[in-house]
């Protein structure tokens, strides 16, 4: 297995709280990896570190063979958690914005995604439901043909129909591109069939990781393992 991301002994402290407490992990290339764990396990801190939004106190992190940097961010499509789009935009502005500012942005693909996700050009971001806005954010992310896609909580607080549309868009995207994908989610039951690899984080460390099909053979479903590890 060739890894796209290699982290060794990463630590990050916020005040007295250790968000990452010696995280060791290797994320395989061209696979869909789930980053799992309860709130406060360090998932978002790790995701933010990948794009250089947070820097580690200690340890090493290499992404596609490089250190995190703004230059490297051209190769990463990142959906932050609790992300919002510009209120004053319409969908068409968002696509134009993406086309002029985001490296690797494929405008035709963006329009396909917008349509597939049930949005249209005229829609105002201001009047969107949370689910619609999440779909727009995802369309903008998936429209980028870049080596690494990082999605922090793409499903949280979103209605079922939006979630189903997002899952379908992800499957199409995985079929078309050989991207390395990281998804952080709490919606395990609905999404575990999408994962090639899973990392279970606990207290800022890697509690367990492996290829999901092998984990299924040896320990059961991702949901079962999650229960064993955290309850």
């Amino acid at each position: 297995m060739k890894s796209a991301i290699h982290a060794a002994n990463l630590t990050k402290k916020y005040g007295k709280r250790m968000a990452l407490a010696g995280l060791d992990v290797d994320i395989p290339e061209h696979a869909v990896t789930a980053i799992l764990g309860p709130n406060g396990a360090g998932k978002s801190t790790f995701m933010r570190m990948l794009t250089g939004l947070v820097s580690p106190d200690q340890g090493t992190l290499s992404i596609l063979g490089q250190y995190p940097s703004w230059q490297l961010n051209a190769s990463i499509s990142y959906l932050p958690d609790r992300a919002r789009w510009f209120e004053s935009h319409r969908v068409e502005h968002a696509v134009e914005w993406g086309a002029s500012l985001l490296p690797g942005f494929d405008k035709d693909r963006a329009w396909e995604l917008v349509r597939a996700l049930g949005l249209d050009a005229e829609m105002d971001v201001r009047g969107m439901s949370k689910g619609q806005e999440a779909r727009l954010m995802l369309a903008i992310c998936l429209a980028r043909d870049v080596p690494l896609l990082v999605l922090d909580e793409p499903f949280s607080g979103i209605d079922m129909i939006s979630r189903e549309k997002i899952v379908a868009a992800l499957i199409d995207s995985f079929s078309e591109r050989r991207q390395t994908v990281l998804i952080c989610t709490h919606e395990i039951a609905e999404t575990e069939s999408l994962f090639d690899y899973a990392v279970f984080m606990k207290d800022g460390r890697n509690a367990m990781s492996g290829h999901v099909e092998e984990l299924r053979a040896s320990r059961g479903s991702v949901q079962d393992i999650y229960r064993q590890l955290y309850s």
Binding site: V167, A168, I171, D172, F174, S193, R216, Q223, D224
Partner: protein, 130 residues
């Protein structure tokens, strides 16, 4: 575990077992049962992944295995088709029958039944046995 039909084939996936093996086994059994006919086109990797809501890599792995077993063939630019060779399908049917019988015998063996007792049970159920 819900039943899903994709391209005329029925699937029930259990997330606590490897999905690739289940997709493979269930396509095989669809062929054996004739749910999908000889020479018929099977869904593309993407269609199957969408239908089952699973990772396309998993579907790809199952499809590669079917191709290795020569149960399917890919025609460039046209897609993947079930073999037209009825002998291959016959082989698969017998293989599935053997697997079922092995499972059955193992279960009765673990309950302490001897071969002649098993044969007697089969006869009493109207099955043929020597």
């Amino acid at each position: 575990m819900n039943e899903t039909t994709v391209g005329g084939m029925k699937f029930v996936l259990d997330l606590s077992q490897p999905l690739y093996e289940q997709v493979l086994a269930q396509v095989r059994s669809s062929i054996a049962k004739g749910e999908i006919a000889l020479g018929e086109k099977i869904p593309s990797v993407r269609e199957m992944a969408q239908g089952l809501k699973i990772n396309p890599n998993t579907v790809m792995r199952a499809y590669q295995e079917l191709e290795r077993d020569q149960l399917t063939e890919t025609r460039r630019g046209q897609g993947t088709f079930i073999t037209t060779d009825s002998e291959k399908v016959r082989t698969i049917r017998y293989r599935l029958a053997e697997e079922a019988v092995d499972e059955f015998l193992a279960k009765l063996g673990s309950l302490g039944f001897t071969a002649s007792e098993v044969a007697a049970i089969l006869r009493s159920k109207g099955g043929e046995a020597r």
